[in-house]
């Protein structure tokens, strides 16, 4: 057992940090800067991160769930408005059903049910720049064409309507289980990054903002809110890293149990942490131009992605023989 990042994993993390620091949005108005967003997208493209789960010659993914989680976490830390989790899950679907990649140059994201709680054919998520999506209906892998944008929850990752296309293959039960484990693990990594970014934003604000002649971060009431947020983030990070590792290292049912354990923990933590970020920012935190709500909105989408607290707890209980638990 050695849970530290390898040198390669640390280097991957550093290169994502570099890209996000250079091209990520630093303030809310920058979300409207299409030129910046295009540069971010081009940098992610050039790095090949969206291809981590495409198949190598032997049909295995080029990189493990850990590498994909590293990218997801660092992108979320900088609320990067660039597609990653969606296209990664689409690539995993193609890999698992043995289909060749989508037509060259055309981006493909993933389709889910309309509540985002399960693989489906109702809605495309993380659809920035996507020409099409790949959904799952029963065991069938279905191509979807991407329609108009839906009202945004997450300002950094749009969802769109879809139109159903042809069935391109099928997934075995174990493969669906493993795919779901990857999706949950990446949602967790995204939540961890979101929490890290939200805590850092709030920490800096609490150091600067003065009331009663002193920094508000000197008040114990504020300190304890931020301490709890930081600790929740650290616990989330530990359980999310395990889930990312489990995707490829454990049998499918155990990988799903690890992922749903992490998803329950990270979902509960992330909402609380992002709400704390808004509270610490006070009145400013309730205005559009403060980044705090961008973090919260990103968390809300990741929480719903393949099921939040309730569905995840049900899976956790079921894995230990407590079935039909949360009636």
């Amino acid at each position: 057992m050695d849970v530290r990042f390898s040198a390669e994993q640390a280097a991957l993390r550093d290169s994502v940090v570099q890209v996000v620091d250079r091209f990520g949005p630093k303030a809310v108005p920058q979300l409207d800067d299409a030129e910046r967003a295009a540069k971010l997208d081009a940098a992610v493209d050039a790095a090949g991160w969206r291809e981590l789960r495409t198949a190598d010659e032997g049909g295995r993914p080029w990189a493990s769930g850990v590498e994909a989680a590293i990218v997801a976490e660092e992108l979320a830390r900088g609320v990067a408005d660039v597609a990653f989790v969606g296209p990664t899950l689409a690539a995993e679907l193609r890999r698992l059903c043995g289909s060749s990649t989508a037509s060259a140059g055309a981006r493909e994201t993933v389709g889910l049910t309309s509540d985002l709680g399960a693989p489906g054919v109702d809605i495309a998520v993380d659809a920035a720049g996507a020409a099409s999506a790949l959904g799952l209906d029963g065991g069938d892998v279905v191509e979807l064409s991407v329609g108009g944008p839906l009202p945004p929850v997450d300002l950094t990752r749009p969802c769109t309507a879809v139109t159903r296309g042809q069935v391109i293959g099928a997934l075995a039960h174990d493969d669906t289980t493993r795919w779901t484990a990857l999706g949950l693990a990446l949602a967790c990594a995204d939540l961890v990054g979101t929490m890290r970014g939200a805590v850092e934003l709030s920490r800096l604000y609490a150091q600067e903002r003065r009331q009663y002649g002193v920094a508000v971060g000197s008040f114990q009431a504020v300190q304890h809110l931020l301490a709890d947020a930081y600790v929740s983030m650290e616990g989330s990070r530990s359980v999310a890293l395990h889930a990312a590792w489990a995707v490829d290292a454990l049998p499918p049912a155990d990988a799903l149990a690890a992922a749903s354990t992490a998803k329950a923990y990270c979902s509960r933590a992330a909402r609380a942490v992002c709400e704390t970020a808004i509270q610490v920012h006070g009145g400013i935190g309730n205005t559009w131009d403060c980044l705090a709500h961008v973090f919260l909105r990103r968390a809300l989408l990741s929480i719903d992605l393949l099921g939040g607290e309730g569905p995840s707890l049900t899976l956790v209980l079921a894995h230990r023989g407590v079935r039909d638990g949360l009636r």
Partner: protein, 376 residues
């Protein structure tokens, strides 16, 4: 990054698992019954004699000299076998390793590690809890000895201890953090009076208070130099905050396993709300297990302890209290004269946010030392 066993770790795990088949003493859940504390010394010695205790401590003091992550394996296997957790005394061992001279280490550590000598920790006093540095127990030099006078409280295992690591003031003129020294004091002597404290769940063998009235300790049994007591205390409480050092992952994992067995034996008698509570306990206990693996991995290059111990203490506390709530939800309040074990587990869990430094103190430390927020 790999959570899986290396070949050497897998071999160790298999050997431990085989040993546990015949050597589980089957004690009641920790801290719910005095029988647990009566059986704990024998359990400690059995673990030690079989080579499964003190895994990451130096061979020179009776440890096994293994990488830190072996403790994570030990905790998993103890829980999965339904065995008691390992005795929690790493904080004393690390305190002595970091601050005691060679002679003191040679004389005291082997007995502490093997479990032949029982130790307690005489830090807190009635007027010195969170504000430990205001302690008033005094140590006055008298020839080759120091004479100890004072009152210690919330002292775990004081009733059974052969030795006490006691903090006492040796310099009354120095600033309060500087005038404190640490001693290894023999408990069974005139001038030491101990009284068990009954905890809110009724157990009497864990908690106690001790008064020293003219107890004597040879000057050679001082730990470190005069005035080093505060530094030693900070090392000890730093380790006392760490689930990886305490071995509590095993305790929580076993409780969750036992609660799950209660539910699966008659699933239809539990409501969704009760099961939800159990689900959160499963999630928290697993989180802590992975967190400890991460922490112990970070230390594979050598032990370092900083403010992250406060993070771990809060995570451990949230876990213990989530498990406590599940025990209350699933085990019920034992009306009608039923088994009240689960009620006791719940009640005991309330201590975790106080012992080893309150949750409020931990939050202060996280805020100031990690988040670098300004002092009030």
């Amino acid at each position: 990054m790999d959570f899986a066993d290396s070949p050497a770790e897998a071999e160790f795990r298999a050997r431990l698992r085989a040993w546990l088949v015949d050597n589980n003493p089957g004690l009641p859940p920790s801290s719910t019954d005095d029988a647990y504390w009566r059986g704990q010394a024998a359990w400690h010695q059995a673990l030690y004699d079989a080579g499964f205790f003190g895994l990451s401590w130096p061979v020179s003091v009776g440890g096994r000299g293994l990488p830190t992550v072996y403790d994570a394996i030990l905790d998993e296997e103890l829980a999965d076998a339904g065995a008691p957790p390992r005795p929690s005394l790493g904080y004393l061992v690390h305190g002595l390793l970091a601050h005691a001279g060679d002679d003191v280490q040679r004389r005291f550590l082997p007995g502490l590690v093997s479990g032949r000598d029982r130790w307690c920790q005489g830090f807190s006093e009635p007027d010195a809890g969170s504000d430990l540095a205001s302690l008033r127990t005094r140590a006055d030099r008298d020839g080759d000895d120091y004479v100890i006078t004072g009152h210690k409280v919330w002292t775990s295992y004081s009733d059974d201890a052969d030795w006490c690591l006691v903090l006492a003031r040796t310099d009354h003129d120095a600033p309060k953090h500087k005038g404190i020294s640490a001693f290894a004091l023999r408990m069974g002597q005139p001038g030491v009076e101990r009284r068990p404290l009954k905890m809110i769940n009724g157990i009497t063998k864990e908690f106690g208070e001790v008064t020293f009235d003219g107890a004597r300790v040879p000057a050679a049994d001082m730990i470190g130099a005069p005035g080093d007591g505060w530094a030693l205390a900070m090392t000890v409480v730093g380790h006392e905050r760490e689930p990886g050092e305490l071995g509590y992952v095993a305790r929580y994992r076993k409780l969750v396993k036992d609660l799950t067995a209660v539910v699966t034996a008659s699933p239809s008698s539990f409501t969704g709300e009760q099961l939800r509570s159990l689900g959160w306990a499963m999630v928290e206990a697993d989180m802590l297990r992975h967190h400890v693996s991460r922490r112990l991995s970070d230390r594979l290059d050598g032990i370092s302890h900083g403010p992250e111990g406060s993070v771990d203490k809060l995570l451990m506390t949230w876990t213990e209290q989530a498990v406590g709530h599940a025990a209350l939800a699933v085990g019920g309040a034992a009306h009608d004269g039923g088994d009240d074990t689960w009620l006791k587990v719940y009640l005991y869990s309330r201590a975790q946010s106080v012992m080893g430094g309150t949750s409020q103190i931990q939050r202060n430390l996280v805020a100031r030392r990690i988040l670098e927020l300004p002092q009030p």
